[in-house]
Amino acid sequence: MAAERKIRVLVAKPGLDGHDRGAKVVARGLRDAGMEVIYTGLRQTPEMIAAAALQEDVDCIGLSILSGAHNALVPRLMVLLRERGLEDVLVVIGGIIPDADTAALKQAGVAAVFPPGTSMREIIEFIQGHVRPAPALD
């Protein structure tokens, strides 16, 4: 019997903003919770994120956006993911997202928006509870 596959998460920071405290803390928290985390580094375009998600075969993409660019960047990323057959990858966002924008982001396919002050445990439990089921290994 093969060992259980770890949840693979791509933590990405799209847009021009460089404030990466949150992204790095979350990346480390997920890793400490037993997930495999790939951190893209800064200033990733939606194209780069979609390509990395495909190449790394991730179960979840965690985006960190504080600058207000989410409405321009996230829907584009969701289209690119669908084009690459990655529609079952769980996409979650943390950062500063006005309440007014949350509904549209969820409409575009984002599974969760984590506001400032969200605990690591909430994020971990959400990802564990919502990633696609691991492929059967038998």
Binding site: H19, Y39, A72
Partner: protein, 585 residues
């Protein structure tokens, strides 16, 4: 019996300051034995111990926000033996400036109330500036949007979604002129939060002043221009460290010769702290950055007293009240020491650390946002008791968005209440002589010196940054703090304790129309300007960048020809290359 501890017994005072201890402190660490006076010994035995026997202390980490253990009580026993207050702490306006850089401080002139502000277009921001000035604000501080901070024009593909969102969009000197329309640049001091493209933005400011008929020698203000903390913390860099440092030195040299009242750099701990550092790391990395700029300027051939009086600093005001006050006092002491001993500065002005303070954005909560008014007031009080020269108080809605005019007004009123109602501006350094504050000040200074030594051994701050040293230290502290929050060993009211459901706040919303307007302005600018003149100016800039020359004259010529910020930055990218961080997680 001497009341002061004996020299032998004082050995335990000579330990370096405890490092961050958020991961879980040894519960007894803050109560290590120290030499007590007979009176204190008697007090412990007769008063303290019976009470501890009946009612033990709370189960709580008595540590600062940075994780430094704090004692129950501070007394003379907590100061080094033979501690000479007049020599070690002294008087305000005299070395080592622990008590302040001015002998009368706020009795002479209150701190400058300088609210950081900028959003959408130059016109909208100009309106906010004029409103704030009409409400008693005494200085301006420009927040630029992310494309401007990264040297991209508003119509660049990477600017999509970002134009005017985190600050004002400035594409050319035409925008800079609109930004200050109706505001005489010799009548206000202006601070500009710009780093990687600082030299070009400053050139725009200088040309805008020229167009107002204001002589450069009359300009007073501050350019942030601190590229080292970008690599360390905020990550808004464009070029690699070496050419970036050269651009900074170009501005320092130019300011020394042409703008004697302008600070070409504001060496910033603010962003280091926001990235999650401890108070000690903020202090140590900022001052070591300052030393790096001095080293590079000396290598350029400048004399220390030629430029050092124009170096300024910028610190965070976080929530741990006494730790913050001690940080500012330690900073002044260390800078005085470094400038006189390490660099041999002769002018008193070279050794005086002048600083701006901003309350901690990272301490604000999106939940129960009105609590932020209280946080900001207390943080601002710490900055004032620490002797700041100017202050920005955050608005209550800044964990959610850029501030509304109402929220920005409350933030300004908070400073006015401090200045005019509380009485704290009546006397200089009111906490000087507090055993606790003096001990914290000493510990922070000692801890910073330890970091200086480590960074010196690495070959300086540029080398340390290239090795990822400060970045790793900060990321570790940020993670430890998050873990402390998760375990509720640190509390954020309304976030991990006392949480409630509440109705959302009305916030400022900036839509995509700003980008359309800026792009249209750029299209018109490119059609109307003399394209050949722009090309000539950009070529001259490339040549200057490729030589040993100071780039400021060539940058000024580009700006006068209405070259855009994106074109100027692209020309320099062609010569210097771009920087990509090696990912560290």
């Amino acid at each position: 019996m001497p009341l002061k501890p004996s020299p032998e017994a004082n050995l335990n005072q000579a330990q370096p300051a405890p490092s961050s201890n958020l991961a879980g402190s040894d519960p007894g660490a803050d109560q290590e034995p120290r030499p007590l006076s007979p009176a204190e010994t008697a007090w412990e035995r007769e008063v303290l111990e019976p009470v501890l026997g009946r009612t033990p202390e709370r189960d709580w980490d008595f540590t600062t926000l940075s994780g430094v253990p704090i004692r129950r009580l501070y007394t003379a026993a907590d100061l080094p033996s033979g501690f000479d207050f007049e020599r070690e702490v002294g008087f305000p306006g005299a070395p080592p400036y622990v008590r302040g850089i001015h002998p009368t401080l706020y009795r002479g002139r209150l701190w400058t109330m300088r609210q950081f502000s900028g959003f959408a277009t130059a016109e909208e921001t100009n309106e906010r500036y004029r409103y704030l000035l009409s409400q008693g604000q005494t200085g301006l501080s420009v927040a630029f949007d992310l494309p401007t901070l990264m040297g991209y024009d508003s119509d660049h593909p990477l600017s999509e979604g970002e134009v005017g969102k985190c600050g004002v969009a400035i594409d050319s000197v035409a925008d800079m002129e609109r930004l200050f329309a109706g505001i005489r640049l010799d009548q206000v001091t202006v601070s500009m939060t710009i780093n990687a493209p600082a030299a070009a933005i400053w050139a725009m400011y200088l040309v805008a002043a020229e167009k107002q008929g204001v002589a450069w020698s009359r300009l007073s203000g501050t350019l942030q221009n601190d590229i080292l903390k970008e690599y360390i913390a905020q990550k808004e860099y464009i070029y690699p460290p070496e050419p970036s440092m050269r651009l900074v030195v170009d501005t320092i040299e130019f300011a020394a010769r042409q703008t004697p009242r302008f600070n070409p750099i504001s060496i910033s701990g603010y962003h280091i702290r926001e990235a999650g550092s401890t108070a000690l790391q903020e202090l140590a990395f900022t001052l070591r950055d300052g030393m790096e700029y001095v080293d590079w300027s000396l290598r350029r051939g400048l004399r220390v007293d030629e430029f050092a009086p124009q170096l300024s600093f910028f610190f965070n005001a976080h929530s741990d009240f006494f730790e913050e006050i001690a940080k500012y006092r330690a900073a002044r002491k260390l800078w005085c020491q470094v400038m006189t001993e390490r660099y041999g500065a002769k002018l008193a002005r070279s050794a005086r650390l002048r600083f701006h303070t901003q309350t901690a954005g990272v301490s604000l909560s999106a939940q129960q946002p009105f609590n932020n008014v209280a946080r900001v007031a207390l943080q601002a009080l710490a900055a004032v008791l620490g002797g700041t020269q100017s202050l920005h108080t955050n608005s209550l809605d800044e964990a959610l968005a850029l501030p509304t005019a109402e929220a920005a007004t409350i933030a300004l009123r908070t400073q006015q209440i401090l200045a005019f109602e509380t009485g704290v501006a009546n006397t200089v350094d009111p906490l000087g002589g507090s055993y606790f504050v003096e001990r914290l000040t000493l510990d922070l200074a000692r801890g910073a010196e330890d970091y200086f030594r480590r960074i010196d051994e690495m070959g300086g701050m540029v080398a340390a940054v290239e090795r990822g040293f400060p970045q790793r230290e900060i990321a570790e502290a940020a993670y430890q703090y998050q873990c402390a929050l998760e375990r509720k060993r640190k509390i954020m009211v309304g976030v991990n304790e006392f949480a409630t459901e509440e109705a959302p706040l009305e916030t400022l919303y900036i839509d995509e129309r700003v980008r359309v307007r800026q792009a249209e302005n750029l299209r018109r600018l490119r059609a109307e300007r003399d394209g050949a003149a722009v090309e000539r100016a950009l070529s001259a800039l490339r040549r200057a960048a490729d030589s040993e020359a100071n780039t400021m004259p060539a940058l000024l010529d580009c700006v006068r020809a209405y070259a855009s910020l994106g074109e100027i930055s692209e020309a320099l990218r062609g010569v210097f290359g771009s920087y990509t961080e090696t990912s560290l997680t």
